[in-house]
């Protein structure tokens, strides 16, 4: 039963107040994109056993989507940040590197 802090309203929301939204930082491929790119956008997922960047919506709260860095093996949460982020904030990435030296990075 996860707790994630919504970066918008600051509420430490619990899982039942949230709606999961899958892998974060996916690039949308539209008309004209190659079959490979479109398939990757639709289906290929990192699904790592470890650090995962993912989307959550504070559905029973302010209604905003936000992003979280979470370990899928220990459920440790490294941080949350606004959905309007093309990539994870540098300080968060550094924090994770410090905690998980073996981590290969988010890309």
């Amino acid at each position: 039963m996860l707790i994630l802090e919504c970066p918008y309203c600051g509420v430490k929301a619990e899982e039942t107040e949230l709606q999961p939204g899958g892998e974060a930082h996916l690039k949308r491929f539209g008309p004209g994109s190659s079959p490979e790119d479109f398939e990757a956008y639709m289906f290929a997922r990192k699904n790592p056993k470890g650090v995962h960047f993912e989307r959550w919506r504070h559905a029973y709260g302010c209604g905003k989507w936000f992003l979280a860095a979470r370990c899928t093996a220990t459920l440790e949460v490294f941080g949350t940040y606004p959905a309007q982020s093309p990539e994870p904030p540098a300080d968060l990435v550094n924090k994770i590197k410090a905690k998980r030296p073996e981590w290969k990075g988010w890309k």
């Binding site: 039963m1 996860l2 899982e15 039942t16 709606q19 999961p20 899958g22 892998e23 079959p35 490979e36 479109f38 398939e39 990757a40 639709m42 289906f43 290929a44 997922r45 990192k46 699904n47 790592p48 056993k49 995962h52 993912e54 979470r70 899928t72 093996a73 220990t74 459920l75």
Partner: protein
């Protein structure tokens, strides 16, 4: 191998059962095999079994990182059915169901396949139309299912509440030959049979790397040393993504926790398997008397075999509404299993970018019922290098083409 029978038991009883031999050997890995199957769960063991039985390939190792049958095939709700909508699904699930019918005899191990009947309740008009569609599809597929009335449902399950008021039962899709089997027995029966064919079932042997040269797998690194092989089959359910990454390709898969629970054992009160998809619950009663109850899937990526509480809660709510008497029964144990979900929630039995590497995964919440059919189809793929009809539609390239095998119409929730 000593055959199991009532006479064998009588004989052994006289010497205090000191004469029983091992159900399967526990050998050290050999340096090389014709084929390595990664994953000694039901699907992996069945794959190996049919490699030997159907294709005569017995120089096989089945590698298991923990104890055999310790994954989803040992922690599921044991439901067996084949009342699917799409032809490709019905084909493989019905093949599996029919193999379950004779499994105890084939393996000389009583897997307690119990075709006690399976009901899918229709509690909205929309759902009723959906199930009638499946029954019509099953007619064409030769899968024996029927549409039955609320009164017939009540006859099969006297403790059910068909009157609602919220979700009155409008009827049900009934598969009389659906049912359950003892999940551990399926794993153990296959392991024993594989071992008997001379295959090596190697437990506590985790694959740490997959070695390949110019597009072909040459072997695997394991916690018990390097082993080379001519062919590799990856059959590891929840960890498919991790293995695929070792092999250098990515899967349309996400791993999530699926919840289940059992009640304390009570005297028999529900003889068939009942699935109520509108209210998200399914239930059956084991031969031990426990109510075996399936919950929902957490919507987020998760590799811990622990789940959240709210899905258990949601399921039990629905079941009390449908079976009011269970309110005073107690939950004995709850657990989670890691299921791998594909883009269309249907499995993948497929060649991979590596020429001699094959993968069987993505069974999501419904893998147990498929075990023998899945093994049968995977064995054919590994043996011949090309899929037979059972596996043909389940290749991993269907997503690129948009060629979905979508069962969502037939089963709204975990099955």
């Amino acid at each position: 191998m000593k055959r199991y029978s009532v006479f064998a038991i009588a004989r052994e009883a006289l010497r205090y059962h000191t004469g029983w031999e091992r159900a399967w050997r526990s050998p050290d890995p050999k340096p090389a095999y014709d084929a390595i199957i990664i994953g000694a769960g039901g699907h992996g063991l069945a794959t190996a079994y049919y490699l030997g039985k159907n294709h005569g390939i017995t120089n096989v190792a089945i590698l298991e990182k923990g104890w055999l049958g310790g994954g989803n095939s040992g922690r599921n709700t044991t439901i067996i059915r084949s009342n699917y909508l799409q032809d490709s699904s019905s084909a493989i699930f019905e093949k599996a169901r029919s193999l379950y019918e004779t499994m105890s005899q084939d393996l000389n191990y009583n897997v307690m396949f119990s075709p006690r009947g399976l009901l899918m309740l229709a509690q909205t008009h929309h759902e009723a139309r959906g199930y009638k569609r499946t029954v019509h599809a099953n007619r064409l597929q030769g899968v024996a299912t029927e549409w039955i009335s609320p009164q017939e449902v009540k006859k099969l399950v006297p403790i059910i509440n068909i009157d609602g008021p919220r979700y009155p039962v409008l009827g049900a899709q009934y598969q009389a030959r659906g049912g359950t089997a003892r999940h551990d027995a399926v794993n153990w029966g296959y392991a024993r049979a594989c071992s008997d064919m001379g295959m090596d079932v190697i437990q506590n042997c985790e694959v740490t790397a997959i070695r390949s040269e110019n597009g072909m797998v040459t072997g695997v690194e394991t916690t018990r040393g390097a082993i080379s092989c001519k062919k590799l089959g990856i059959v590891v359910a929840g960890h498919s993504g991790v293995l695929a990454e070792m092999a250098g390709f990515r899967l349309p898969i996400e791993s999530m926790a699926l919840q289940a629970l059992v009640s304390e054992p009570i005297k028999p009160c529900i003889d068939v398997v009942v699935m109520a998809n509108t209210v998200h619950g399914y239930i059956s009663q084991s031969d031990k008397g426990e109510l075996v109850i399936g919950g929902g899937t957490d919507g987020f990526n998760n590799y811990t075999q622990r789940g959240s509480f709210q899905h258990i809660e949601e399921t039990l709510r629905a079941l009390i509404e449908t079976f009011p008497i269970i309110s005073r029964v107690k939950m004995l144990r709850q657990w989670g299993g890691i299921v791998d979900m594909t883009g269309d929630r249907s499995p993948i039995i497929s060649k991979t970018p590596l020429g001699n590497c094959f993968i069987n995964c993505g069974w999501g919440t419904g893998g147990f019922k498929a075990i023998p059919g899945s093994g049968w189809a995977m064995a054919e793929l590994v043996a011949k290098g090309e899929p037979g009809p059972l596996a043909a539609e389940f290749d991993m390239w269907r997503f690129k083409e948009g060629r979905f095998i979508d069962e969502s119409v037939a089963a709204g929730v975990a099955h």
